[in-house]
């Protein structure tokens, strides 16, 4: 069989094109499903009579678990903010994961803590717990601090699961800013469903540049930096389009580690968070779903699109690179651990849609894109590139990227309209135009590097430095 050079180029071009078309079709379906889901959500929550329920003694008790590692600078503010959440019965469990700074000391002195010799059961094995602290001050009676040896976020959360008292756990990042009614909104799917709900996740919003007072967002502002604005668009696409759509077909595989609520019993039954992956949030949910499916118990996973949780996104390219590198490794590790599910009809939507989607669109997309760019360079070097043709192909990809971001912006406008000033919308539109050229290639490279690092055996999280959100003057433009 003789295949000449041009035929190879033809075949490669067609493969890239076919892949592009599949992705494009997938995104169109995501957009359609999420539009229906958002519309339904808005219609369902049109009564505004939920505040009265906050007095109800029949609402389930919730344990809020927040791991803290070297959070000395902001931990007090963050805990105070968590303590003021509106919910009738909840406990805050802060897990000091072997911080090397004064996180524990700051907590002990501020909240008047004493070493509480409580008894708890180790459902999941963890690093050694040095002590569990409660407060002498009755105002902080629902606060518990666990001091343990360093074991990473998954280990810290498992310790929290072992020591907490309630059957529903809400796992958050300690530096997240939660809306006052966040717990009530996130717990609702657990209560208002005829199927068993094993987890519910919330949308994560970007807090950079927002005005914050007493641990609450009082004014939503658009970040000044391009990198943060690009992440806003990314989050719109991921949450308002991606997860809303997956929620509609009950195929969610990921609830963000920054804000998710779980049925503790199922978490324990599934074995808790996995210490051996950097994508512990996704891996846990996949394992929980797999467990329910294998036990043939009807269940569902919910997603709440209200802006309930705000977080600081990386402001520097270096930190962003680390984060995306880690996300990629987490995705691959999870897919590898649960490869049995991929294309397996036994797992229904998860087997036939969700896991293949994650494999082809989340894991392989950056790799294929990277090889596409290499292929392009190769063609340029060998003089095989017709620039007109290139422009046509580039045009279709670029226009689709913009269309996808603008669709996400439209969903934001249609649903929650958080960026109220017209200038914010103009800047976001401008970001959407630049993002495919200036931001996307970088994120793609970080993902490719994540693949390389995984092959090399890298298993660390990578340091995540934050500029801080607590001082409003710092964030004013």
């Amino acid at each position: 069989m003789n295949i000449n050079f041009f035929e190879i180029i033809d075949i490669a071009s067609l493969l890239f094109l076919a892949y592009g078309l599949i992705i494009l079709t997938g995104y169109v379906f995501l957009a359609i499903f999420s539009l229906f889901e958002l519309r339904d959500y808005k219609r369902k929550h049109n009564f505004k009579d939920e505040v009265a329920l906050l007095q109800s003694s029949h609402l389930p008790k919730i344990s809020v678990l927040a791991p803290a590692y070297n959070e000395e600078a902001n931990v007090i503010e963050n805990v105070k903010s968590l303590l003021t959440l509106d919910y009738p019965s909840f406990e805050i469990v802060i897990i000091n994961d072997g911080s090397s700074d004064n996180t524990l000391r700051a907590l002990v002195s501020t909240f008047d803590l004493f070493l509480d010799d409580m008894i708890y059961f180790n459902h999941v094995s963890t690093q050694k717990v040095r002590g569990v602290y409660s407060s002498r001050n009755k105002a902080y009676k629902n606060l518990k601090i666990i001091d343990k040896e360093n074991g990473g976020k998954a280990d810290a959360l498992n310790t929290g699961i072992n020591c907490c008292n309630h059957d529903i756990v809400c796992c958050i990042d300690v530096d997240c800013i939660l809306e006052r009614d966040a717990l009530l909104k996130l717990v609702k799917p657990f209560l208002n469903n005829t199927k068993k709900v094993i987890a519910s996740g919330g949308i994560i919003r970007v807090a950079n540049s927002c005005i914050i007072e007493d641990g609450r967002i009082i004014e939503v502002r658009l970040p000044d930096t391009f990198i943060a604005r690009a992440q806003i668009l990314e989050y719109f696409r991921a949450f308002l389009m991606g997860r809303m759509a997956w929620s509609r077909v009950d195929g969610l595989l990921l609830i963000s580690g920054a804000f998710g609520m779980f049925d503790k019993k199922i978490v324990i039954e599934a074995g808790g968070y996995n210490h051996n992956t950097v994508g512990e949030d996704m891996e846990l949910l996949v394992r929980m779903r797999r467990l329910m499916r294998e036990q043939k118990i009807p269940y569902t996973v919910s997603f709440v699109p209200d802006p309930l949780c705000w977080t600081e996104v990386p402001q520097s390219w270096k930190v962003l690179h680390r984060q995306r590198n880690r996300w990629t490794r987490g995705t691959i590790e999870t897919l590898d651990l649960h490869k049995k599910m991929i294309f397996n009809p036994k797992y229904g939507v998860l087997g036939l849609l969700s896991t293949p989607y994650w494999m082809f669109f989340e894991w392989l997309a950056p790799i294929i894109e990277f090889f596409g760019i290499l292929f392009l360079i190769f063609m340029v070097i060998f003089g095989q590139l017709n620039w007109y043709v290139f422009l046509i192909f580039f045009g279709v990809i670029y226009s689709f990227s913009i269309l996808f971001s603008i669709t996400a912006l439209f969903f934001e406008e249609f649903s929650f309209q958080q960026y109220k000033k017209p200038k914010y919308m103009i800047r976001l539109l401008r970001t959407a135009l630049l993002e495919p050229i200036l931001y996307h290639p970088f994120v793609m490279w970080a993902a490719v590097k994540g693949n390389i690092d995984l092959i090399r055996g890298k298993t660390t999280w990578g340091k995540m430095t934050r500029t801080g959100l607590s001082n409003p003057t710092k964030t004013k433009p």
């Binding site: 041009f6 094109l17 010799d117 008894i119 708890y120 459902h123 609702k188 005829t194 046509i392």
Partner: protein, 369 residues
């Protein structure tokens, strides 16, 4: 060697003779850009539309507040004439009517007695009753749900034929609003709808019903009526209510349910009886629980241990301790907690030597359970 056509072509000259694949791409590029422009226009439209709607809402809110205050408190106000004028001039669109309804709900929430009757009068006078009745007749579940919500908030009666089909709607929200309407509008049997439901009650619905019962003005229903309901969720709800409303006369019934075949009902029976804390029945309750303990599942065993901790004595703990297996770690921890509670200084239960891996701090050590 075959050279692909696209290596040779020149877009400027060959635009009309593009290979199909490139033609498709070019068309798609144009389509995507057109869609992008359309979406940007839609975003602008939404923004402008929302702003206009908000401005109209703000303006109408002020006019409504003024109108309703005059209607309520100004004796010289010509109610009939002004009502007709306001309705004709201000309530032209569906948005206007919905804004008016929202404002009337705010007044209804804050006014009681005679004033609330006047609010009803305004609601009817402005033609909002017929507006919402037409919503109820539509297929849109969210319009029906909202209409029912408004009717029960304003205590306005509507034909039952418009409510009853919603009791068994497939939409939770509509079903819930139908329950609440029926509860509020009933004079004698606020929970009568429980006889007609054909889906279980969600916990969310139970919380809403309980909340609505707080403001129910008629006689408190006898919750035992639905204790044998075909849906365990209804029975469980009624058992919770028996405890909440201290319907002590039903304690024998609850004691009987401690041996019900459904573990969830048994669990709620334990919870309700534990919450009611009636000294005369405590011994009977503990006796039944201890008898049942060896055969219960782990969740119920935990509840029994908690009950012993709350209302029992050390002898009750001693009685169940032998039935806790070594592998039941959670139960062992619960047992240890109770052992420490009953005997703060030294363990008396066999094989429950309390240890944990905390570093002791003699100054700060606490011995709470």
């Amino acid at each position: 060697m075959v050279s692909p056509i696209y290596l040779k072509m020149n877009l400027a000259s060959d635009i009309h003779e593009l290979p199909p694949i490139l033609e498709i791409n070019l068309v798609l590029t144009i389509v995507f850009f057109v869609f992008t422009l359309l979406l940007i226009s839609l975003i602008l439209y939404l923004r402008v539309h929302k702003n206009i709607a908000n401005r109209r809402k703000e303006k109408l809110d002020l006019l409504l507040i003024d109108f309703i205050n005059n209607y309520l408190f100004n004796e010289e106000f010509n109610k009939v004439k002004e009502m007709a004028v306001f309705k004709k001039r201000q309530l032209k669109t569906s948005l206007d009517k919905r804004v008016a309804i929202s404002q009337i709900l705010v007044f209804a929430e804050n006014l009681k007695g005679e004033s609330s009757a006047v609010i009803q009068e305004i609601f009817l006078g402005l033609g909002l009753y017929h507006f919402l009745i037409s919503d109820l007749k539509k297929n849109a579940w969210f319009k029906k749900a909202k209409a029912l919500f408004v009717f029960y908030q304003l205590n306005i009666k509507i034909p039952m034929s418009l409510v009853e089909p919603s009791i068994n709607s497939s939409r939770n929200e509509l079903r819930q609003q139908a329950f609440l309407y029926l509860l509020h509008s009933s004079t004698e049997n606020p929970l009568g709808f429980l006889d007609k439901i054909n889906t279980p009650l969600t916990l969310w619905e139970q919380i809403y019903i309980k909340n609505a019962l707080k403001s129910y003005k008629g006689n408190t229903p006898d919750f035992s009526r639905w204790i044998d309901h075909k849906f365990p969720s209804v029975a469980i709800f009624c058992m919770k209510m028996i405890a909440d409303y201290d319907q002590f006369e039903h304690i024998p019934l609850l004691l009987k349910l401690l041996n019900h075949e459904n573990p969830e009902i048994r669990q709620q029976a334990i919870l309700s009886l534990r919450d009611m804390e009636i000294s005369e029945t405590l011994e009977v309750l503990l006796e039944v629980l201890i008898d049942n303990f060896p055969n219960e599942n782990i969740v119920l065993k935990q509840e029994i241990l908690k009950t012993i901790g709350k209302i029992g004595l050390e002898k009750h703990l001693q009685a169940v301790a032998p039935f806790i297996n070594k592998e039941d770690g959670i139960l062992k921890v619960e047992l240890q907690r109770l052992d420490r509670y009953f005997n703060p200084k030294s363990s008396k239960i066999e094989n429950t030597n309390y240890t944990n891996n905390l570093q002791s701090d003699t100054i700060n050590m606490s011995h709470g359970t």
